[in-house]
Amino acid sequence: MKSKFDFKKFRPVGIFLAILAALLIYAYGFQVTKVNLEETRSEKRQTQLVRIIRALAKPDLITYDYQETEATFRIRIPCPPEGFQPTLPKEGAPYLKMTPACANPKDTITVEGENFPPNASGPLYFIPPSEVTLSLGTIQTDSAGHFSMTVKLPDRPAEEDQYIRALVKVPSGVPRASAALIDTWDKIVETVFLALLATTLGTLLAVPLSFFAARNLMKDVTSPFISVALYILLIPLGILAGAQIARWAISLRLLLGITLWVDGIGIIVLPLALLFLFRWSVPQTDEQKPSWKLRIARALALLLAYFLGVLTLSFVSNILIEAGNFIQPALGSFGFIGKFVRDCGDILGMILTILSALVGGGVLLNIANRFGEYAIRHFSFSANRLLNLIIGTVSGAGLAVMLMAGIDWLYQFDNRWISLYFPAGIGGLLGLLMALRFKPRDKVGIGMVVYFISRTIFNALRSIEALIMVIVFVVWVGIGPFAGVLALSLHTIAALAKLYSEQVESILPGPIEAVKATGANRLQTIVYAVIPQIVPPYISFTMYRWDINVRMSTIIGFAGGGGIGFLLIQNINLLNYRAASVQMIAIALVVASMDYLSSKLRENMV
């Protein structure tokens, strides 16, 4: 009761204070944003604005070939004492006539012209002996090709002949696209493809990553403590091993020869061997549990098949590079296809090592998981406790040393105590404490850890605008559209992974339950119960992102990322507003039409 009374009493005071605070905030806002009303009224600024708006209203779209007609009239200023005889006009040709034929400086005279092209205009010049022309004004001919104009002679007395010249320009031939328009077209194409590549690359990577940021898929991913500790040690090892296998495969390929026919045999024989090995080691159905020996033999065969697979891809990459190099000159103006083929080969070679490293990490992760599961089921309680303590300590130390190696790389301590012994000790201790905290057979919710880490990374990346990211990429790969593609892709990955994962979180749990109940493993459950449900929202989010990327790619050039924005900012800096206007129109057209296109597609698909 009492508080209610107090509240009512102080309410007007509160409102008054709130208004005062708001006023203060806005006053300060005006101050920091430098609101300057004087400037908006200043004469000089206004004429400038009018000039620019007029320039923008006349985009530099087309040019003509011009046919010029000129006539020159010889005069004397002042009139020479011996008298002056003007040149007589030629019959039919354009000529000028002046009354009087000679005059004093600053006199006003009448200039008349005949036989000029009708309804045309052009400049009228005064040409002194120095040949530095002075403009006298603009002439406008009538329908008979005649003009008459009164001009004031300049203050240029001379002993010699001086001239008055009229120049009339008439457009001739068909109108052509202006240089600005041609450049704009080139850059607009670049812009659209920039958006396309960034959306494609971003989508390809965001789809698998989004599953890691989906709570409903990750929340029941658990592992025994031993497995989690082993992950920390074994996954980096697996990554190194995978990368090493790729390197071996590549050097074996180099050893086998670089001639095309070896490559050719390679990509025919290897896949066959691979297919055979795979068929043998991965039977279509596994009704019974296979024996120990068979399982080891299969694992070895699978390893060999894997090596052959990497080798095959390495051959494919090489063939693509060679073929690209070969066809690029042969294709002439379609040489870019050859370059594309070569680049594909190059990309394949580059991601081969990365993929192999990931596979290696994945395989060891699986082994660590199986070992942990086996241990908690078959080892005694105290054996488990001992294993937990030992592996926990070692992996704690390992993790700390790995983290410190990263920090050391940044700050270059050059001190073994800081980079090795201290972190190993502290990490080991923390690992030990963790091992003590978990009961030996407890499971760790590793899925939620992955979930939080990936969510955090996506949110952090999403909050950095692509326009800022591109600055980093420009340092790495130079100014140009490629930097723009990389920056936009990175931003797309983060943004889409977040949106996608929210879609995964909102799917129906029933089908997942049903597919799990049939004995499907995690990956099968995703393929059969999750993916069919998320296809429509994934498509519509990808298209939504495509819209954003088109918009972003039009301005990413401001920061050096290529595309139309690069041209626009250049023209604005050069005060070339008529060209800038062309680019602004192009941007508006492209953004609007892509919007329309994607909304139409969306209507049809979802």
Binding site: Y374, T518, G519, A520, V527, Y528, A529, V535, P536
Partner: protein, 250 residues
């Protein structure tokens, strides 16, 4: 033989859905599970194939401890336990055939099934199962184009793909009309009689229990309050199971 010992489930929020439930089901029995809404029927059935992790207690089936099985062992166990759901739980955007084939996921090699490749004999079996439930002509349709009764038949065909030795049916007929309910229950009866599969089926209607079940267990607020023959449910038992104010219909 399925043995459930002192099964207890406490959900994360603190709800005690099952409390010390013990019973055993001999091979080939048709067991009905009854009880009020919220009494824990779904929880019980889902604990048996560990779609829900039990909090305490053990479940053994054919001598194997399900509650302590590893993920790999669970795969071997689950593929022999078919499950049928009240809301069918089909993947709506997939074809009927793919939904039925999903029943083989526990058997086929994951590497092949990830690219949607099933052995020829599995595809033939899927068509056969669809024929048995009378909707072979719908194989290529999307699952959500089917009526409720047809969808539940797809659910049965999916369970049959597993060559199940046990079937868990969680209110399989609760969203169907009475005529359809009998036809679905008859399929379950056939699975039970012709293939010798143990059936655990939660039901809401006592007439269905009387007609199809060999034995009934009843849950009330997570506790087992009845275990016996359908004929033994008299008015006192009924009040014990469904509460004082319940009235018997029919």
């Amino acid at each position: 033989m399925l043995e459930v010992n002192n099964l207890t489930k406490i959900y994360d929020g603190g709800v005690q859905a099952l409390h010390n439930v013990s019973f055993s089901v001999p091979r080939g029995q048709f067991l009905a599970v009854i009880g009020l809404s919220g009494s824990g029927k779904s929880t019980l059935l889902r604990c048996i194939n560990r779609l829900i992790e039990p909090t305490a207690g053990t479940i053994t089936w054919k001598g194997v401890d399900i509650t302590n099985a590893s993920e790999e062992e669970m795969r071997q166990i689950r593929r022999k336990i078919g499950m049928i759901f009240q809301h069918f739980n089909l993947v709506n955007r997939s074809s009927v055939l793919t939904n039925v084939l999903a029943g083989r996921l526990g058997y086929v090699n994951p590497a092949y099934s990830l690219i949607n490749r099933f052995p020829e004999k599995d595809i033939q079996k899927a068509m056969l199962e669809l024929e048995r439930v009378g909707i072979a002509d719908k194989a290529k349709n999307r699952a959500d184009e089917l009526s409720g009764g047809q969808q539940q038949r797809v659910g049965i065909a999916r369970a049959m793909m597993q060559d199940p030795e046990m079937v868990l049916a969680d209110e399989p007929v609760a969203s169907l009309d009475p005529v359809l309910a009998h036809s679905i229950m008859q399929y379950l009866q056939k699975i039970n009689e012709d293939y010798g599969a143990t059936v655990l089926c939660s039901l809401h209607f006592l007439d269905l229990v009387h007609r199809y079940a060999d034995r009934v267990i009843a849950l009330n607020a997570g506790e087992l309050v009845f275990d016996g023959l359908p004929g033994e449910i008299d008015d006192t038992k009924f009040k014990e199971i469904y509460g004082r104010d319940a009235e018997r219909v029919g």
